[in-house]
Amino acid sequence: MNARQKFVSSVRALLAFLLTAIIVTGGSTAAVAADYVPISGAGSSWSANALDQWRRNVKQYGMSVNYASTGSVDGRNQFKGGTVDFGVSETPYGLKDNGVVDELPTRPFVYIPIVAGGTAFMYNLTSGGNRITNLRLSGDVVTKMFTGVITKWNDAAIAADNPGITLPDRAVVPVVRSDGSGSTAQFTLWMATKYTSLWNNYCNAVGRNECGQTSFYPTKSGMVAQPGSQGVSGYVAQKANEGTITYVEYSYALKTNFPVAKILNDANYYVEPTASNVAVGLLGAKINQNKNSSMYLTQELGGVYNSKDARAYPLSSYSYIIVPTTEQASFTAAKGGTLAAFSNYFLCEGQQQAEVLGYSPLPVNLVKVGLEQVSKIPGADTSKINIAKCNNPTFSASGENTLAKNAPMPDACDKKGVEQCTAGTGGATGTTSGGTTTGTTITGTTGGTTGTGTTGGGVMGGTMGTGPTTCDVDTGVCSNVKAIPVATTSNGWAATNWIILSVIIVLVLIVVVPPVVVTYAARKVR
C-alpha cells in the first residue's frame, strides 16, 4: 500500500467515524415513548401536598402517577388488599392500635422514606379584632389542650407561654382527624411518650384504656372531628371557627395562610416547623438499621422529642412509601420500573421542592438507604439509581445535612421568658403586636430583634447564588456547584454549537478534499 492509498484509507476511516458519530448522536435524542406505565397509590394526606407536586412534575418525563389522599390507614389497607401499587403512611404495619394488631401484608414489601416534615399546630385565634399569629405553646400545654384539661384560651398555662399576647376568654376547640390517620398516630405517640400520664388519664376517661399511639383519635365532647388533612385545616381556616386548633402538616398552614404555634423544645426555645428546624430535629431520630427487621428503616423518635438543640422542632418525622418487592397480581415489572423511577425522582430531585411546599428535604443517610430499597422493586433500572447523581438539597461534602448545618438559631425573643417575638408564623404574614418586619412566611425567624451572628439574612446571603450540591460520580465526593441549571443549559448549547461547527468543517472537507486528493494522486501517477 503506497502513501496515497494510505491517505485515502485514512480519509475513509475518518468519514466512517464521523458518520457513526452523527448517527449515534442522532439516536440519543430520539427517545422512545413507552418508557413508563401509569401507577397508582393511596394513603397519607400529611404527605399529599408534596406527592401532588411530584406527580405534576414527572409528567414532563412521560410518567403518569395517580394518588388518592385517603389517610395512612386506608393507604396501608389498600396496599395490603392489592388495590394500589404503592401505599404512603406515617406509621408502619405491625403496630397495635385500639387492641388490634395491624397485620403485615402477605405480599413482600419494603418501606422507603418519602418526605420529612413537622406536624404543626395550626390555629385560629383573634384578640381585640386582630389575628394572633405568634402563639407559643409548651408540650404539656398542647397535650392538655387536646385532652380537655385546658379548655379556655386565656388559661394561665397558655398565658405563661405567651407573655406578649392578651389572650381572649374563648373556648379551646381541638380539631382532630375523624379518619384513620398517620398524623394522629404521630401526635398521639408524642403525647404518649412525653406526657404519658396526661395521655393515659385522658384515654382512660374516654373509655380507650392505655391507648398509647393510635391512628384513631379518641374524642370527647367539645372536640371537632374532620376527615383528612384538608378537612381539619379547612375547618380551622374558617374565619368563624375561632378558638380552633389542629395538628396537621405545616404545608397545609402555608396553603391556607394560617399561623402555626411555635412549640417549646428541650432547649427552652419555641420553634416553628420550618424545613431547617425539622432537619435539625430529625438529627435526633434513630433509624431501624436492622435489614432483617420487618421495621427496617422505620423511625424511633424519642431522640427528636428530647433534642437539646435550640433549633429542633420536637414533632419532626418522616413518612414512608410502601412498595412491593415482587411481581404479584396486578403489579407487573413494567409498573415496578415506573415506581422505581418515580421513587428515584422523589428521593433526589423532588426533595428540592420540599421546603417551598412546607416540608423538609430528606437527609443523605435516609436517601442512601432509600435508594438501596428502590433497587429491590421488580423492574427497577438499577443503572439509573446512583446516589452520586442524586440532586438532593441537603447533601454536602462532609456528609452533614446542609440544611441542618445552616439552620439559623432561634431569635432571643423565642427563648422561654418574658420576651415574645411578634413575627407571623406559618402562612400568616402579619405581625401580631406591630412594629417589625413582615413577609417572613417561610422562616418566620427574621423578627425585629437581632439574633446571634448566624441568624436570618446572614446565612442566607452567604449562600445566595450557589447551586444545588452535586457529587462526583467516581470519587463520591460531593460539593457545592455554582448554578447547576446553567451548566445543564449551556452544555446543551455547547453540544449544538459543536454539531454546527463539525458539520460545517465536514461539509467543507467533503467538497474540498476529493478533488484535491484526486488531483494530487493524478499528478503523482503522471
Binding site: A34, V356, A487, L507
Partner: protein, 841 residues
Amino acid sequence: MSERRPPKRTRFLAVLLLTDLGLGVFFGGMAVTSAYAAEGDVTVGVLPTDTPTVEPTTEPAAEPVSRQASRTPRVNSDGSMTIDWLDTVRDNAAPNYSLFENLQVSVSQVQDLSYQAVKVTWNGGVETSAQQLASNFMQIMQCWDDGSGSADPARCQFGAATGANVSLLGSNAMTRSLGFEGEDPIQDYTGKFAIRPPLGEYEYTYSVPFETAPNTLYPDGQTTHDVERFFDATSTNEISGARTTSNGTGEATFEIQTVVEAPHLGCGSPQADGEIRDCWLVVVPRGEFTASGENFLDGVNGRLSGSPLSQSNWDNRFEFPLSFRSVESNCPIGADELRTTGNQLVTPAFSSWQSAMCAKKSVFGFSMIGDAESRRNIVSDTDGAARLAFVDNPLSSIEVGDSTVVYAPAVKSALTIAFNINYFIKGGYPLESKDGQQVTEMTLNPRLVAKLLTQSYKADVAGGERLSYLATNALNLRHDPEFLELNPEFDQFVNGAEPAGLMVPIGNEDVFAQLWDYVKADADAKAFLDGIADDWGMVVNRNYQTLDIDNDETINSFPKADTATFRESDTVPEPGFGTFELRPYVHDLHDGGVRAFRGEPGTKTFWDTGRSPAAFVSSGSQLLGRRFMLTVTDLATAERLGLSTAKLINPSGEAVQANSASIDSAVSEFVESNVVGVKVSTATLAKEESYPLATLTYAAVDVCRSSIGELKSFKGLLSHIANDGQTIGNGEGEIPVGYVPLDDAQVAQTKSAIGKISAEVSNPVCPEHLASESTDFDTTVSPTLPTDNLGTPVTEASAAATGKFPGDPSSALRYSMLSALCFGIPMIAGGRTLIRKAKSL
C-alpha cells in the same frame, strides 16, 4: 492494479453506487424539509388567530377500512367523522336489525389526537329503557390498531368498570366475560377464549382476553384474562352504557388516552418501523335481543345480557380509525430542575411548556401554590426558593421592598363554573325526549353564585332541611325560583335530580378573590350576603353573614363555614356528618373538573358499620346518564374534559360564556395595578361582551435574587412563552384549548421583560451578581449573547429566534450531513478511477 474486474463485482459496485446516490438524494430532500420545519418553529411574531379551529388534513383518515364497507368513512371538513350503521353490509335477518338500521354515529375529532375529550353523538336509534340500561344503549371503548384494518375485541380497553352502574346493566354486559359455552352461536369458545379451571374444579370459563400493543414495555405483547394488570376502574376510559333519547339521539364525552395514560394500547407511540400507532374508537350499539336472539325482557332482571366483545354483539360495531400526534418524550428523567411556582390557572399551560423546554434540555420544576405564597416566595431569602412565579396580581410595594421584579404577561384564561348534567325529565313533559342527554346551557347571575358559595341551599348543609335559619330557602339550585327563571328547562326535571353542591377547591388564589369581587359588585348579590332576602324569601346562611364577606376586601378563598352536623338515627354516633363529609373541598381546580366529569362529588355520608372502626363512606358515583355536577374550574380543564361552562350575567346584564372573544374583551378593560404596566382584573366591566372571570397571568421574576444562570434559563422559558408557547393546540409546548393567546402588545411586554433580564445577564448591576461575577459569568455564556438593554428588547427576541431556541436544527443538519456523505464517499473511493476513465474516453 488490474483494470479488468469480474463482471459480478462491477454489477455489485454499480448497484451500491446507485443505492448510495439514491440515499443521498433522499437525505438531501429530508434535510430541506426538516430545515423548513425547523424554521417554521422559530418564526417570531406570527400569532395564531383567536379561534382555535380544527384543521382537517387533506389526506384521508387512514388506510381505507377493509371490512366489506360499501362506503369508506371519510373525515368531514371540521375534523369529525360520521358512520352509518348500514355503511357496512349487515344481516337484515338479525333480530336487532330494525333497531340499528337507521343509526348514524359521529365522533367530533379523529385525527391529530392527544390526551383529550371527544364528543360521540348519534341519531336514528331507539330510546333506552327507562331508569336502567336494560335495552337500547351504546357502549364505547378505545382499541389499538394492529394494522389488520379492523378492530379486534381482544385489543380493546373494556370490562374494568365497577361500581353503582353494575345495577343498571344486564349480566356480563359491562364485562369481558363470555358466559357459558354456546351462549353466542358465532363466538369461538376455544383457545385463548377458554380459561382452564383452577385445581380441583372442572368447569371451564370463557372470556375475551386482553392483548397489549407490542412496544418497548411489552416487546412481545402480553395476553391476559387479568386485565387489572393493565387497566382498572379508575384508569379505564370505557363507557359501559350511554343513553339514547326518545327522539333517537344521544351523546357522550369520551376521554381519548395516549400511550402515556394507556401504554398497553400504545396510541401515538412510535413503533419499531417508526410509524405512529393508530387506534380505534369502537361504539357497540345494544338493542333488545341477546346474541342468541333472546329478548331482554326474558333475561335475568329484565336486562340485556352479554358482553359487547362477544362476536354477535361485536359484529354490530361502529369503528372509527383514530390517528394520533406522536407522543414522544424527548426528555429523560434525571436532570436537575430549575424551580418555578405558579397558580392553578397557569398549570395546564405550564405543563405543556415544561415538556417543550425539557426537550430542549432546559428542565424546570413547578410547584403549584397560591398566588400569595408565590409572591412571598420569589423575594424570600430562603435558599433554593423559586425566583420565577406565575401570578395574576403583582407584589405589593411592601412585599417587593427593594427587590427588582419584572413582569411578563404569560397567558390569558378564565375561571368558570362548569357542569356535567344529564336531562332527567318528569314523565310526559316536553323535554322528555332529551332525557339522559347532556345539558349544554346554563346561566347564573351573581346572586345565584353567592347562594352556591355560602351553603345557603338546604341541601348544602348537613340536616339543612331541619334548620330554622334555612327554613325559607330553596332546597337546592334546581328548586330555586330565581334559577328557574333564568333556566326554565330545569323546571321539567324530576324532583330527585339535584346537584351535589358547587364543588370548590381549598386554598387561596387571586382568581378566587376575583370571583368574590364579581359577586359583590352586584347590588342584589351584595345585599344578599349582607342578609337581605331575595324576592322569594331566601336568605344567606347566617354563618356566612357573620363572615361579613360583603365588606371583606381580603377574601381569596371559599369558606365552608356552616358547622351543623346531622345523623340519620341513633345507630350513627354523635355528632354525625358535617359540611366536610357532605360537601368536601376538592384539591384544586383540576381535581374539581375531573370529579365533575366522573360524577364523583366525594360526599361521604353513609355510615358503614362494616368497617373497623365504622366510618362515613361514599355511596358511589352518580349514575351514568343521571349526573348533576357543578364545579369551579379553569376553562382549559373544562375544555379538556368536555364539560360545559355556565354563562355568567356580567355588569351590563348580559349572559356571557367564557371564550376567546369574551376573555379578550374583559382583559382589555383590566386596570393598572400598583406596578406600572401590570394590569389586573376589575369587577366594573363596561363592555357587554366581557366575561367577568377572565384572567391574565404574569410571570414575575426576581432579577437580583436569581443567579445569572437562572436568568438565562428564565429568558429561554419566556422566549418560548412569547413565541410558540402562545399557539393553541394539544402539542408539546402549545397552550391547550381554553387559553387565549396574548395579543401583540402583551407579547411586546413579555419581550421587554426578556430584554431587562438579558441586560442583567450581559451587564450585571445587581450587587448579588457583581459579587459573584467572576465565578458565575464566563465560560457558560453563549458566544452570541446579545448585549442589548432595556431600550432594545426586540433585538433579544430576534436573537432568540435566530438560533438560541431553534425548533430542532440538528435533524436538518444530520440529514444534510448524511446526504453529503452519500455523495462524498463514492467520490473519494472512486473519484480517481472516474476521472481517469473520463480522460481515457
